[in-house]
Each structure stands twice: as structure tokens, then as C-alpha cells.
């Protein structure tokens, strides 16, 4: 029997009992809508959490920091790994890593034009900046061969004030209100400006030097961590640090080193009583490494590998995992509620099909006598049940989009609270294409499964009884 003929016959048979078919379809429709809307809420929840995580940082960035890992009881695990060029090469070789850049952190007083403020300056490999997924909203990123230039985050400008204003404040005529987030200044103001960084020597604070930088670009993103930072070629920062550390005793004097000693000795800084030789940092070690991976999954994999090798890592993706676990649970519960509704609908299909077979006993018998095989009969009834599933699924999906739209429409006001201004409000109900496809396929599958038992019954009907003359 031809597949198209089976479908046509099935379609025709369904509309013999319009009311019954429509009611059964309505059942499937409600079930599909329930499951799609419930799952869409779960997906919306997950997505909005993800979006808010992304506001804080990139999900495919790992920061490898100085320091060592600790076990659950707070005991140090292994030795701290040195963050040097060997480490950069080692990490670059890990599968899933797209780019690695060493970084120094520095900062200090800065001036441009008539404004004065503070800049947190990160030195990175200028060549790698584009690979680290930075994008410039104005100007350009750092590139190979750059010297004495910087790219600033969009919030850096807010750390600057007019000198006149500062003088007024110092005289107590104005209250310092901190960086005013609401009256945001235009970061474009800094473009092409020459920034003068005033760096003081660590051992002799009277000794200072000015380092000049030209602003060549402004970074995109207002809420990420890098919005508050400025980036410069690492060689420039190395020179700055060299000046800072001239004449200091033990390397670097990095506060993190003291913290590590404190942790290793149980909270007290007693370097002399430590049995192990003191593990200081080489002042030439990088402060941290920026690692960019292919995607979130790789971020986790690479983080795990790095931790195993003794690196101390941090990434936003670490936090995402816990949140995802919670939202999976919520999704399972929501999906379960929808699933029960669809189960009831499936029972409705089975019921309809059994009734239909009772009514058509004679017809089924005749078809068998004139040459329908078991498979033909089976296929005909499965097709009918599947069609009910398809119709219910299609209409249910349409209804889901409507319900989803209504939910989002009414939750919009509520949702936009607490979001930074200018941020696009995301719906709490999201129906991605794969959910739509899944829902349709599932509805048809449910129909076919619900039709299995009735179809088997139809197959087993005796043709003799059906055609016996009354």
C-alpha cells in the first residue's frame, strides 16, 4: 500500500467523526502547549542567567593566576606554577585554547588634557588582543609593534574629573560622589588623547616618572570587567614595572605572595618558621595569563586541565555550571508538568482510536478480505493516531508562541527592574527552533505510540466475524 494513500485514507477516516477528532486534537494541543510553554520558561530562565553572566565577563575566557590550589580542608595542593613564557607555551598547546596572553597589572595616577584620574592598566601581548575576543567600539585594538599606546574600557573616562573640580572638592566645596554611573561621560572623549601616567618607585616614593600613552581605541561593552580597565602593550608595562621596582629588596613585593605565605603557614605570616624554603615569585613572572578558549564547554575542560597541572584558574564559566545545574532541575520539573498533560492527551488518542475500531470492525474485516495485509491495517491506524498527534502538535505549537508572547508581554515591566539602563529586556519564555521541532516530533511520536495498542487490536480482528451475514 502506497504511503500517500495510507495518509489520505487516514485523514478521511478521522473527519468522519469531526467532534470526536477535534476534541482529541484539542487534548494533544493542550498537552503540547503545556510542555512547550513549560520548557520555554526553563530555557528563558537559563538564557537570562547566561546573559547576566555574560555581562560580567566572557564565558570563554580563563584567567590563570599566580598562586596554588587548595583542597577542601584548605591544605595547599602541590607547588605553585610559575607564570612565565614556558607556561604560556604550555597552555597554548592545550586543545581548545585559541589564544594566550601574558599580563601584568599596573596602575596609577593619570592625566589627560585638563582631567585627572586613575587608570588600572593591564599589559598584554598586543598581537593577541584581537584573538582574545576584545572588540573596539571606537578606534582600534592593540596590534603587533605598538608602543606607548593604550586601549581604554568604556568606563575608564568616569574615573577622571576636571582639575578645577578636583581642587574644589579638595577645598571641601563639593562632595565627592564617586564615579557617577548615571551621568556617564562619553568614552570617545579620550580618543587620540595623550595620557600621562605618573609612576612612583616602590622603595622611594619621591622618585617618580611620567609614562606617556596615546589612546588608540575604546573597548566595546559597558558592564564587563574590562570596561574599567585600560590595555597597553606588555613591553611598555614591563618598563613601568622595572622603574617601580628599582631598588626593592625581594622580588616584586606582590601582595599576593604574602597572602600565599599566610595561607601556607596557617594564617600567620611567619616566613622564618616555615620549614620549606620560602617560595617567592620571580619579579619577572607574569601577574596572570589571559586564556581564550573555543567555547564554554572548552572553557571548563581547559580549566580542569589547568587545575590538574597546578595552575590557579578563574572563569565566569565555573559559576555558570552551578547555575545551569539548578536551571536543569527547574526545567525537568516544568517539563514533567507538561509531560503529564501530554500523557493524558495520549490516553485520549488511544481511547478515540479504540472507539473508532469498534465502529469500523466490519470495514476492517472487508479490507482484510479484499487483500489488506496486517501491515496495511496497522499502518492505517497508526497514521490516524499520528495525524491526531501532528494536528494537535501543530496547533499546540502555534498556541505556545501566542502564550509565550503574552507571558513575555506582561512580564516585561517586572523583568526590566534591576537591569542596567539600555540593556535589552529578555523574555522569560523562549521557544528556540529546536524546541519547536522537538515538540512537533514528540506530538507525532506520542500519537503513534498511543495508536499502537488500538492498531494491534484492529489487526487481530477476525475478518470472518466482520463479514458474516446477519
Amino acid at each position: 500500500m502506497n504511503k500517500l494513500d495510507i495518509l489520505k485514507l487516514a485523514h478521511r477516516n478521522l473527519w468522519r467523526r469531526k467532534a470526536r477528532t477535534i476534541l482529541t486534537v484539542v487534548g494533544v494541543m493542550i498537552g503540547t502547549t503545556a510542555i512547550v510553554v513549560m520548557l520555554s520558561l526553563g530555557i528563558g530562565l537559563k538564557e537570562s542567567q547566561r546573559k547576566s553572566m555574560e555581562r560580567w565577563g566572557d564565558l570563554n575566557m580563563i584567567r590563570v593566576q599566580q598562586g596554588i590550589n587548595f583542597d577542601r580542608e584548605g591544605k595547599p595542593l602541590g607547588e605553585a606554577k610559575k607564570l612565565d613564557d614556558a607556561a604560556v607555551a604550555e597552555i597554548k598547546a592545550i586543545e581548545g585554547v585559541v589564544a594566550v596572553s601574558p599580563a601584568y597589572e599596573s596602575g596609577g595616577e593619570a592625566k589627560f588634557g585638563r582631567k585627572r584620574g586613575h587608570i588600572q592598566l593591564i599589559g598584554i601581548d598586543p598581537e593577541e588582543m584581537v584573538n582574545l575576543e576584545f572588540t573596539a567600539s571606537l578606534g582600534r585594538l592593540l596590534k603587533a609593534g605598538d608602543r606607548n599606546v593604550m586601549v581604554v574600557g568604556s568606563q575608564v573616562i568616569n574615573n577622571f574629573r576636571d582639575e578645577a573640580e578636583i581642587r574644589k572638592m579638595q577645598r571641601g566645596m563639593m562632595f565627592y560622589e564617586g564615579p557617577r554611573r548615571l551621568e556617564r561621560k562619553d568614552p570617545g572623549e579620550m580618543m587620540d588623547q595623550r595620557i600621562a601616567m605618573e609612576i612612583r618607585n616602590n622603595s622611594n616614593h619621591e622618585k617618580k616618572r611620567i609614562f606617556n600613552f596615546q589612546v588608540v581605541g575604546v573597548l566595546e561593552g559597558e558592564f564587563k570587567q574590562h570596561a574599567y580597565q585600560a590595555y597597553a602593550p606588555i613591553e611598555d608595562i614591563k618598563r613601568m614595572r622595572k622603574f617601580m621596582m628599582e631598588g626593592t629588596q625581594n622580588g616584586g613585593g606582590d601582595p599576593r605572595m604574602m597572602r600565599e605565605i599566610a595561607m601556607k603557614t596557617g594564617g600567620e605570616v611567619r616566613a622564618t618558621s616555615s620549614r620549606r624554603p620560602m617560595q617567592g615569585y620571580d619579579p619577572d613572572d607574569y601577574n596572570f595569563l589571559l586564556v581564550r578558549t573555543e567555547d564554554v564547554t572548552k572553557t571548563r575542560e581547559v580549566s580542569d586541565i589547568l587545575r590538574e597541572r597546578g595552575y590557579n584558574t578563574y572563569s565566569i564559566a565555573d559559576q555558570l555550571e552551578g547555575i545551569e545545574k539548578t536551571s536543569r532541575t527547574i526545567q525537568a520539573i516544568l517539563g514533567g508538568i507538561g509531560g503529564i498533560t501530554l500523557l493524558v492527551a495520549a490516553i485520549g488518542i488511544t481511547n478515540t482510536m479504540i472507539m473508532s475500531i469498534y465502529e469500523r470492525t466490519k470495514e476492517i474485516g472487508i479490507m482484510k478480505v479484499i487483500g489488506a495485509t496486517f501491515q496495511d491495517i496497522h499502518a492505517m491506524f497508526l497514521a490516524e493516531a499520528g495525524l491526531i498527534g501532528l494536528m494537535g502538535g501543530t496547533i499546540g505549537l502555534g498556541l505556545s508562541y501566542l502564550v509565550s508572547y503574552i507571558i513575555n508581554h506582561f512580564s516585561r515591566n517586572f523583568m526590566s527592574r534591576g537591569l542596567p539602563p539600555g540593556e535589552e529586556v529578555m523574555g522569560i519564555s523562549l521557544i528556540p527552533p529546536y524546541l519547536a521541532l522537538f515538540a512537533m516530533a514528540f506530538a507525532v511520536l506520542i500519537g503513534v505510540i498511543a495508536g499502537l495498542y488500538p492498531a494491534n487490536r484492529a489487526v487481530r480482528l477476525s475478518p470472518i466475524n466482520a463479514i458474516r451475514n446477519e
Binding site: 500500500m1 502506497n2 494513500d5 485514507l9 478521511r12 477516516n13 468522519r16 466490519k362 470495514e363 472487508i366 479490507m367 482484510k368 478480505v369 479484499i370 487483500g371 489488506a372 495485509t373 496486517f374 501491515q375 496495511d376 475478518p463 470472518i464 463479514i467 458474516r468 451475514n469 446477519e470
Partner: protein, 232 residues
């Protein structure tokens, strides 16, 4: 004449409550190709059971039905369905048309199961219905037709697959005498023209004269065989 259908030692028993009823008791029969055979008997004589077993719709307790040497009684259900679809046609007392289908669609139904294209099968159905005088009724549903017309549709359905054997179970049982004659004339004519073997079951002695051979059945046994020309 070489036996086209051969029935050997056919026995069929039913359990009806406590009782075991013997519907067929060791029946032996040979049927030639193109023969019009009439099985005559009262209700409960076993004539319908014999027809069902010959059509492979029921399995005997003992014995065999061979069509051109092929045993139908040993055939699997699927092969049997295929065999019926290819080589057999059926006509019933109560027409047994599908109420939702039009005359053309009812006639074309066996061809649907055979996977014949819609255009082709509807053309064949239409041609047959026109030949049987139902030109005006092609698009009608069974409920919109008289008994005689319905039976003509069902004859067309039995003929549409160009079968080797047609089984007719009381084909005129629901019809008045005028229509009965009409239907029997058509049936006789078609059968003789196409050379198909017709096996008709009836309790109506008046129809027997159409047949080449009449078999009388009583209590599951053949009691008398009358050849045409001998009795008529």
C-alpha cells in the same frame, strides 16, 4: 478436466459452548478453471464455512485446499492476503461496501492495497462501473444507492483486480426477484466473458440453473452433485 481448485478431506469443527459442531465433515471436491459452481444448502449446512476456507479466511482442522497445486491452508497470513488481493474477488449478501467511499473509490480499494497509482486504479474502476450500467452513480456513496446498484458496485470491486476466482456469498440474498435476475445475468455474463471461476453459495434453488455444477450440502457433507444439462 484438470483440477484448478482441489479440496481434500476438509474437516472443520467449532466449539459452541460445551458442544463441538462439525461444520465440514471430510469434504472432497475438484473445481475446474472457468467453472461456475453453485453450493446449495440450508443455513448451517457448512456451505459458508467451505467458502471461507477456500478463500483462506479460515483454517480447517484437517485437510487441504490447493489452487493450481499451491496449498492455501498452509499459507502464511501475509501471503494469503497477497494471494486474495491478486487472484480473488468477493461478493457478499450485504454488499459490504465502505460507507465513506464513493462507488469509484470502493471499486478501486483492492487496487489501493496493491499499490496501484490513483489515476490508473480510478480509471479501471470507472470503466468497470460504466460497463455495469452505473455511469450516473460514480461519485455516489453506498447509502445513496439502491441494493441492486450497491451489488453491482461490489461486483465491479470483485472484478477490478482481474481475479482467477470470485467467491459470492448469497449475492442476491437482499434483493427482490427482479433485481436478482438482473444481478445474476450480469454476474453470469461477466464470469463467462472473462473465464473466471465463480463459486457461489446460496440457499436459493432458483439460482442454481445459472451454474455449471450444483453441489448440495447437508450437515457439512456433500450429498449430491448435479452437472448442468443433466438436471436442467
Amino acid at each position: 478436466m484438470a483440477a484448478f481448485i482441489e479440496i481434500k478431506n476438509l474437516t472443520k469443527k467449532y466449539r459452541l459452548g460445551q458442544e463441538i459442531i462439525t461444520a465440514l465433515d471430510n469434504v472432497n471436491l475438484s473445481i475446474a478453471q472457468g467453472e461456475f459452481l453453485c453450493i446449495l444448502g440450508t443455513s448451517g449446512s457448512g456451505k459458508t464455512t467451505l467458502l471461507h476456507i477456500m478463500a483462506g479466511l479460515e483454517k480447517p482442522v484437517r485437510g487441504e485446499v490447493l489452487v493450481k497445486g499451491v496449498s492455501l491452508t498452509k499459507m502464511k497470513e501475509k501471503d494469503m492476503a497477497y494471494f486474495r488481493r491478486k487472484h480473488m474477488g468477493f461478493i457478499f449478501q450485504s454488499y459490504n461496501l465502505i460507507p465513506t467511499l464513493t462507488a469509484v473509490e470502493n471499486v478501486a480499494l483492492p487496487l489501493i492495497f496493491d499499490g496501484v497509482e490513483k489515476k490508473e486504479r480510478e480509471k479501471r474502476a470507472r470503466d468497470l462501473l460504466i460497463q455495469l450500467g452505473l455511469k450516473e452513480r460514480l461519485k455516489n456513496k453506498p447509502t445513496e444507492m439502491s441494493g441492486g446498484q450497491q451489488q453491482r458496485v461490489s461486483i465491479a470491486r470483485a472484478l477490478v483486480n482481474n481475479p482467477k476466482i470470485i467467491f459470492a456469498d448469497e449475492p442476491t440474498g437482499n434483493l427482490d426477484s427482479k433485481t436478482t435476475k438482473e444481478i445474476m445475468d450480469i454476474l453470469y455474463e461477466r464470469v463467462k466473458a472473462s473465464g473466471v471461476t465463480l463459486i457461489m453459495v446460496t440457499h436459493d434453488l432458483d439460482l442454481a440453473h445459472y451454474a455449471d455444477r450444483v453441489i448440495h450440502m447437508v450437515d457439512g457433507q456433500i450429498t449430491k452433485i448435479v452437472e448442468k444439462g443433466v438436471s436442467a
